[in-house]
């Protein structure tokens, strides 16, 4: 006998409505997702997609071979591994980063493997941020920091990187964007539980200097605050700049979680393998969250990452190291993009690191202030939509990386990803050339 199902969507008058509230309160205010909107638009039009941050070139051969090996060797790699990380991976992460951070890192106590750095961030917030805790977030910020703080019942406290004025004709630089020390100090209260730092920074591309990190470190120690350091772009540094891990500064290891990403390290974002490193006193709480959320991470991706790190450990610091070659190649892409964008009047801010640069669109805001969009929609969002529809280029409006009250203030920048193949950059050039031609009266 066929069961006739009457479904709520088919019959609106039978719409499901619970008498009690349906979704949990922790989801309030965090359901919006800017990526879905812009990603959708980018796929609907014929565009060169310089929006979302992933490479359009493959991972290096040794990484692909590592994955192949993980799939074709022991068939037991198809089954669960250790909950807190596949042992060869936690072992090599401990030794590799132990050296970099100047710490003895125990693979069992100081390392947790997660589903991407995103998963590490979530685990850290859930483990350590409580109802009413304040979390200092440096603006502009990778957009998940705010909703993750809110979902944990925390209160985000924003402090803004501010650019100093540049000379006419000179390009702005991400290093020019700085925190005011007095302003930063004023954000710390007795309720401050954590500060989230991202270096190299997404979207601006700033690489925090030692002095800047020392300032943050001293405030964290003074106010007894945990530092969550998102260092996914640690290898993507240019022009001879050096990435510094705040956990390596005096007094910081015991209060810092250092988060990293295999996706960004090996140009394999789809593997979704990340990690958190830190003292056992903090890591044990992340482990508790982990065992009550996803419990295990997929095994084979971890095996591939372990093998890839073996390769890098062997070649560390040498020209054959991927962590040397990748930033060298990407720096050229960056420079290409900087040159090209200027041809249509976009003003790129030169990044010292990360996958991204932001470009100032103030001139466009002056010349064409009335682009289609909602009444209260920040200019940069309207500009990006216009650019997708009319110029065949997709990017991300930088106001999505700001707290709601500041979006109108910082609505004149657009973020471009330059970790793209030469062919993509050439396609970008073609679109820009056409745009430039259209500018001539």
């Amino acid at each position: 006998m066929m069961r006739l199902e009457i479904r709520a969507e088919a019959c609106p008058y039978l719409k499901f409505a619970m008498s009690k509230r349906l979704q949990a309160r922790r989801l309030d205010g965090i359901d919006h997702n800017p990526w879905v909107e812009f990603g959708k638009m980018a796929s609907e039009y014929d565009v060169v997609n310089l929006g979302q941050g992933f490479p359009d070139f493959p991972p290096p051969d040794f990484a692909i071979q590592a994955f192949q090996l993980a799939l074709n060797s022991d068939f037991m790699l198809n089954q669960y591994t250790k909950a807190f990380g596949y042992p060869p991976l936690t072992k090599i992460l401990a030794s590799f980063f132990g050296k970099l951070l100047g710490q003895e890192i125990d693979p069992l106590k100081n390392v947790l493997v997660t589903v991407g750095a995103y998963g590490a961030l979530f685990t850290a917030f859930q483990a350590l941020v409580d109802e009413g805790d304040e979390v200092i977030i440096v603006e502009p910020f990778f957009d998940c920091y705010e909703p993750m703080t809110l979902m944990a019942g925390g209160r985000p406290v924003f402090v803004t990187l501010k650019p100093s004025p540049t000379q006419d004709g000179e390009l702005d630089s991400a290093s020019n964007w700085q925190l005011d020390p007095t302003e930063l100090a004023s954000k710390f209260t007795s309720r401050t539980k954590a500060l989230i730092l991202n270096t190299p920074n997404n979207p601006v591309g700033k690489v925090f200097s030692k002095a800047e990190l020392e300032l943050v470190a001293s405030l964290c120690q003074q106010h007894d605050v945990i530092c969550i350091s998102d260092e996914v772009y640690q290898w993507l540094v240019y022009d001879g700049h050096q990435h510094i891990s705040i956990a390596s500064l005096p007094g910081m290891w015991e209060r810092t979680l250092t988060i990293g990403s295999a996706g960004k390290s090996f140009s394999a974002t789809g593997w979704k393998v990340g990690w958190a490193l830190g003292p056992d006193s903090l890591m044990k709480h992340l482990r508790t969250v982990h065992q009550n959320t996803i419990y295990h991470c997929p095994t084979q991706g971890q095996a591939a990452v372990a093998q890839s790190f073996q390769h890098e450990q062997l070649h560390f610091g040498q020209p054959s190291s991927y962590f040397v070659q990748l930033p060298q190649a990407v720096q050229r892409y960056r420079d290409h993009m900087i040159r090209s964008l200027q041809s249509v009047g976009l003003k790129p801010v030169v990044p010292q690191g990360s996958y991204f640069l932001i470009a100032d669109i103030s001139d466009f805001k002056t010349q064409m202030p009335d682009l289609p969009g909602d009444a209260d929609e920040p200019y940069d969002r309207r500009f990006v939509k216009w650019m997708i529809r009319n110029k065949g280029l997709a990017a991300i409006p930088v106001s999505v990386f700001y707290s709601t009250p500041h979006r109108k203030q910082f609505d004149h920048y657009v973020r471009f990803c330059f970790v793209k193949d030469e062919s993509t950059l050439q396609a970008m050039d073609e679109k820009l050339q056409k745009w430039k031609d259209e500018l001539r009266p």
Binding site: D31, Y80, Q103, V115, L282, G301
Partner: protein, 452 residues
């Protein structure tokens, strides 16, 4: 504070070093003061212990025959491994895919499950791909369960249900499966039932959801139509949600049929149904699971997803999609893995029942799943040597058995809440999704044990 010295990896002399400031070099104390603020969030209070961590460590000794953790030691089907192997070579599959589920995978899942729901399933709005079924349970509970809510959990229960409900600030309300007396015939998982009146008494205006697990871990019960109807009636009467954990949906044995509570009248709109690639294709290490349900529920799980892990691994999802297409096309064929695996496992189940009976135990024959529980008190093992007399009987028994008989299992009281551990403390769970040589080794141990 830090563990014993690890041999520091020494670099080639031509390598460049980053300048490192170590607190040790500068002579500063590594922990100037014990911080008062570096405390954990309240949501994880009391959730730090975990039975698996403890028992998998015990069973890690290679000389132990491990019938504990639910982990197949049989090979996944060849075509599943082959698909994954080919995929790693495809460029685009090494980068991010769609957050709520890789397009080809959600399409395959929609196509598969439409056969059961007899309605179209929207792959983008009514399906979410998660990090294992574990991730789907987490997303469901975080998305739909609030502080102050009550959630009914049927005992014994897969152990993560209770901590996940507590982590959401809600109160678990327990109801045990109770066994009818069995006179003369074999003890079956179907002898374990819920008392309808007792179940009804657990529902009230605060009840937000009931978590159902069918086929059931650890008993192996496959809920009948009548039993599911009782639960459905209560869900509708009290306007509650149903989170239906159906990871073992294909593993049902002769004479039994897996039924989806979401297909019952009035249930689609209030049910999240959870499945698992790990259990479907014997690839637990792929950690892919899914939730199927109406958009007005799934959208909240999607919100959790975009604020937790955002997206699952791409190559595994594509491989899974391709493996599904192979079996979706031949669902009536005995070669289809959804048919062949339960056939293979039924033989192993019967063998294991026989072995446990030889040992003098009374195992409960499961109608589904890949576990068997048995009352071990009949063996009257001498556990006086085991320290920590506060532990339940089955914990001590498993530790004793692992140490002295080189056979490991899982204590069933781990699947009970603190107050009711005693109800199940004589039972131990054995996993039978094991290759023949593992079962042979178990047989040898049992023969030696009984002095045969």
């Amino acid at each position: 504070m830090f563990s014993a010295q690890r041999r520091l990896w020494s670099l080639n002399s031509t390598a460049k070093f980053l300048t490192i400031n170590s607190s040790k070099i500068l002579g500063l104390p590594t922990s100037a003061k014990m911080s008062l603020k570096i405390t954990n969030a309240k949501r994880i209070e009391g959730l730090d212990s975990n039975v698996w961590i403890e028992f998998t460590k015990l069973a890690a000794d290679p000389s132990v025959v491990n019938l504990g953790q639910g982990l197949p030691d049989i090979s996944p089907p060849i075509y599943v491994k082959e698909k994954l192997s080919k995929i790693a070579a495809i460029d685009s599959l090494n980068q991010y895919t769609r957050g709520f589920g890789h397009p080809s995978l959600v399409k395959a899942l929609a196509c598969l499950y439409e056969k059961f729901y007899q309605n179209q399933i929207n792959p983008n709005k009514e399906i979410l791909v998660t990090v294992g079924a574990y991730g789907s349970l987490f997303n469901s509970i975080q998305g739909l369960i609030d502080e102050g809510d009550e959630v009914i959990i049927i005992m014994p229960f897969y152990d993560c249900y209770e901590p996940m409900v507590r982590m959401a600030g809600a109160t678990p309300v327990f109801i045990p499966l109770r066994s009818k007396p069995v006179n003369g015939k074999k003890w079956s998982s179907s002898d374990w039932t819920l008392d309808p009146q007792e179940l009804a008494s657990k529902f009230n205006s605060k009840t937000k959801a009931i978590i159902l697990n069918t086929p059931h871990n650890p008993i192996g019960k496959v809920y009948t139509k009548e039993e599911l109807q009782v639960i459905a009636d209560l869900c509708i009467k009290y306007d509650t949600l149903c989170i239906s954990d159906e990871v073992y949906e294909w593993l049902v044995y002769t004479g039994n049929k897996h039924l989806k509570i979401a297909t019952f009248p009035g249930m689609w709109e209030r049910t999240i149904t959870i499945g698992s690639a790990g259990k479907t294709f014997s690839v637990t290490g792929w950690k892919l699971g899914w939730s199927v349900g109406p958009h007005h529920l799934i959208k909240h799980l999607q919100t959790v997803q975009q604020n937790t892990i955002y997206t699952c691994a791409t190559p595994l999802q594509e491989a899974l999609a391709q493996a599904f297409w192979i079996d979706i096309k031949r669902m009536d064929d005995p070669e289809c893995y959804f048919n062949s695996l339960p056939k293979e496992l039924e033989v192993k189940r019967d063998r294991m029942i026989h072995l446990l009976e030889n040992l003098g135990l009374k195992p409960i024959v499961p109608d589904g799943g890949y576990f068997i529980i048995a009352d071990v008190s009949l063996l009257d093992a001498d556990l006086s040597g085991m320290k920590d007399s506060n532990e339940p009987y089955d914990y001590k028994f498993v530790k004793w058995m692992t140490k002295n008989k080189k056979l490991s299992a899982i204590p069933v009281s781990a699947f009970c809440n603190t107050e009711t551990k005693l109800q199940f403390e004589k039972f131990v769970r054995f996993c039978f999704i094991k290759k023949d040589s593992t079962l042979d080794a178990a047989e040898e141990i049992i023969k030696a044990w009984t002095g045969q």
